[in-house]
């Protein structure tokens, strides 16, 4: 079993290295085979491990040992990590197979390079999930940051992609530092690094260190999952190719924050403020992102903001203690968001990489199969009844509602409003892009050729999962909760007792979301409330939303520009203060020497004079010494 656990990591690693180093100029077919194949192999290993119901911490070698600080290289296999591995390798495999088709017009070099980066990403994500101690978690954490930098900046001949990549990476590093400091606090106060030893050592009553550690880890989570303060990199990350957005910015990477809180649930249970902060940040981000999504014209940006909003939901869930609900929403989100991205990818691919929704229209008629799958995804996103989205979102909102205290209701209400907004912008996206008759500027006027099979099959699989997946946990409507049972050994008992009321809330959100979706129809198509009219009256609101609440400008003004000025200042200072300081010393000695040499006049008599003067001084000294 130990070898198999390591194999999960070795497969993607081997794939990455092979593609990166050897197959760099090799055949495209080989690349197409190795890329996704390696991930499916990892998927198979996960399944085997799942089958044997392995629940063990495998240690391989000592990574660092400095006195009492001992960090082994160990992999923790338990239901939570297997659950995440399933998501990563499963959905990841689908996306990478989809990418084989999507990227075929790339050159040989870039093709191999793309798949190498994808494999490296999956490897890093697996390390993150499987790591058995905080330090290795950080290694995975930064590895994911690196691969997102590489993939966002994949089209490096586009300046905007390069800038976006760097921005994403710096944001991630800030998150890493939060994680590192959190690891310090944990080690310094509890002298443990390995999870299985650390969690029992944690106190049950909240005190300063647990709060501090929880907050610091939260900083890492926020940066990675693009929550409110550190979220500006996600929309720019859309510069990367669509499969990248699908895999990283929908299914796996952005959910790392949720996994983190779930994994450190003993720590978060032992804190009040940090735990509440998670929920609040999640809720606020959900609302914030949903509002911006309303006015976005680029389809991928809409999806990006919707991702941010959905992750807000997940943070909300884990923030109020409903860890398994959060993870179930994570699973469902992985399904329908990947589906939406890939379907959008099909459209973009067909329309020669045009991402602007205004040029779409008439897709229902021209690309029937992709439109159907996109519809399934949209309905699931909006939270309509049969789809998985409904069950997971309602599950989260239900838990929030039934938590019973002030935080629970406040958070539920924000979630409810966001659900409505989500319904609206999803509807807007569907009607405006797909249902509307073809717009004039559509790049390909005639019949759009549907995506090749290799792209359609993964989309179809995900569509099926989106529709059927809901039945995994229909707790929202009082049914069974398979996911909760699966995760019970790791996450412990459910903390929130459900009472009857939240079914009422669920029905309410369902109806309103459906209405919002329909409202979008006549808003955009029939024009009963013309967009232009709204924009005239609430112009300023639109502009604020479009400018993403001016966060980018704020960061630029607050951090980037002063940093450059400070750097310039230190550069000048370094030259003037220290450098000349040292050089001056040399200059002064030189000048002193010059003055001294004047005394050497060459006249004999002045020499004798100096001689006698010396005698006098010596006499004074000897006298002073003799007398003292």
């Amino acid at each position: 079993m130990q070898a198999l656990a390591l194999a999960i990591l070795l497969f993607p690693a081997a794939g990455g290295i092979f593609l990166g180093v050897f197959n760099w100029r090799g055949s495209r077919l080989l690349t197409a085979m190795v890329g996704p194949g390696v991930i499916w192999a990892a998927f198979v290993c996960v399944l085997i491990l799942l089958g044997n119901n392995v629940d063990q911490d495998f240690t391989y070698w000592t990574w660092i040992r400095a006195g009492s600080f001992e960090v082994p290289f160990d992999i923790l296999i338990d239901h939570l990590s297997l659950f995440m591995c399933l998501v990563i390798t499963g959905v990841g495999g689908l996306i990478v197979t989809y990418a084989v088709g999507y990227m075929e017009h790339e050159t040989d070099g870039s093709y191999a390079r793309f798949f190498c980066y994808m494999d490296v990403f999956v490897l890093a994500m697996l390390i993150l999930v499987l790591a058995g101690n905080t330090v290795f978690l950080i290694v995975g954490w930064a590895g994911v940051g690196l691969s997102s930098y590489l993939l966002i900046g994949f089209y490096y001949w586009r300046r905007s992609a390069v800038i976006a990549a760097r921005k994403a990476f710096v944001m991630n590093v800030i998150g890493d530092i939060g994680m590192i400091l959190g690891a310090f606090v944990l080690f310094v106060s509890y002298h443990q690094v390995v999870y299985l030893k650390l969690f029992p050592a944690l106190p049950h009553t909240p005190d300063a260190t647990t709060e501090l550690a929880a907050f610091l880890l939260l900083v890492g989570g926020i940066a990675k999952s693009a929550q409110l303060p550190l979220h500006t990199w996600l929309p720019d990350a859309m510069e990367g190719p669509t499969p990248v957005s699908a895999l990283i910015h929908a299914a796996t990477m952005v959910t790392a924050g949720v996994y983190l809180v779930a994994r450190f649930h003993p720590l978060y249970d032992a804190t009040i403020y940090a735990h509440a902060a998670v929920a609040i940040i999640g809720a606020v981000t959900a609302l914030f992102a949903a509002s911006i999504a309303l006015v976005q014209t680029d389809i991928k940006r809409v999806l990006a903001y919707s991702t941010m909003s959905q992750i807000g939901y997940m943070f909300l869930a884990v923030g109020i203690g409903a860890y398994s609900a959060g993870l179930f929403h994570l699973l469902s989100h992985a399904f329908f968001k990947a589906l939406l991205f890939m379907a959008a990818g099909n459209v973009i691919h067909a329309l020669h990489d045009d991402q602007d929704m205004r040029h779409y229209g008439g897709l229902w008629h021209d690309m029937r199969r992709s439109s159907v799958t996109f519809l399934a995804g949209s309905l699931s996103l909006a939270g309509i009844i049969p789809f998985v989205g409904f069950f997971s979102k309602e599950n989260v909102l239900g838990e929030a509602f039934s938590r019973g205290d002030g935080l629970g209701y406040a958070v539920w209400f924000i979630g409810f409003v966001t659900a409505v907004l989500t319904g609206f912008y999803t509807g807007r996206m569907w009607w405006f892009a797909f249902w509307r008759p073809a717009s004039e500027e559509r790049p390909v006027a005639g019949h759009l050729h549907e995506a090749p099979l290799v792209m359609l099959v993964p989309v179809a699989v995900l569509a099926v999962l989106t529709t059927v997946g809901g039945f995994l946990q229909i707790k929202a409507i009082g049914g069974w909760a398979l996911v909760d049972d699966f995760l019970k050994p790791v996450l412990g008992e459910e903390r929130i007792r459900t009472n009857g009321l939240e079914y009422l809330a669920t029905v309410l959100t369902l109806v309103l979301a459906a209405l919002a979706f329909a409202a979008a129809y006549n808003f955009w198509i029939r024009g009963t409330w013309s967009p232009a009219g709204w924009r005239a009256r609430y112009g300023w609101g639109a502009r604020v939303l479009e400018r993403k609440y001016y966060f980018d400008e704020l960061y630029d003004w607050a951090f980037v520009r002063p940093l450059d000025r400070l750097a310039g200042f230190t550069d000048r200072e370094d030259r003037s203060l220290i450098d000349t300081g040292a050089v001056d010393v040399g200059a002064y000695t030189e000048r002193g020497a010059g003055a001294l040499s004047l005394t050497q006049t060459g006249f004999l008599r002045s020499y004798v004079l100096v001689f006698v003067a010396g005698v006098v001084i010596a006499a004074v000294l000897v006298l002073w010494r003799a007398s003292s």
Binding site: G602, F603, L604, R605, V608, V612
Partner: protein, 79 residues
């Protein structure tokens, strides 16, 4: 010695100083009643003589090259 500018006079001043030393030596010899002082005085006399001879030789050389009567002219070497 400090004031006069003629090198010859300087040599004479040195002789004067050495004479003074002789006087002190003989005085101490008498006071301590041992003859070392006087012998030492004799030694200094011979040394003074030798020095005078060499001094004059060098000065004669310089005078032969150029008529110098002021020691301050001797100031090519400086700085």
């Amino acid at each position: 010695m400090l004031i006069r500018r003629n090198p010859l006079v300087m040599l004479i001043c040195i002789e004067l100083m050495l004479n003074a030393v002789n006087l002190t030596l003989v005085a101490f010899s008498r006071q301590l009643n041992n003859r070392e002082g006087q012998l030492f005085a004799l030694m200094t006399m011979t040394v003074a003589a030798a020095e005078a001879v060499v001094g004059l030789a060098i000065l004669v050389d310089i005078f032969r090259v150029r008529d110098l009567e002021d020691v301050d002219d001797l100031s090519e070497l400086k700085g």
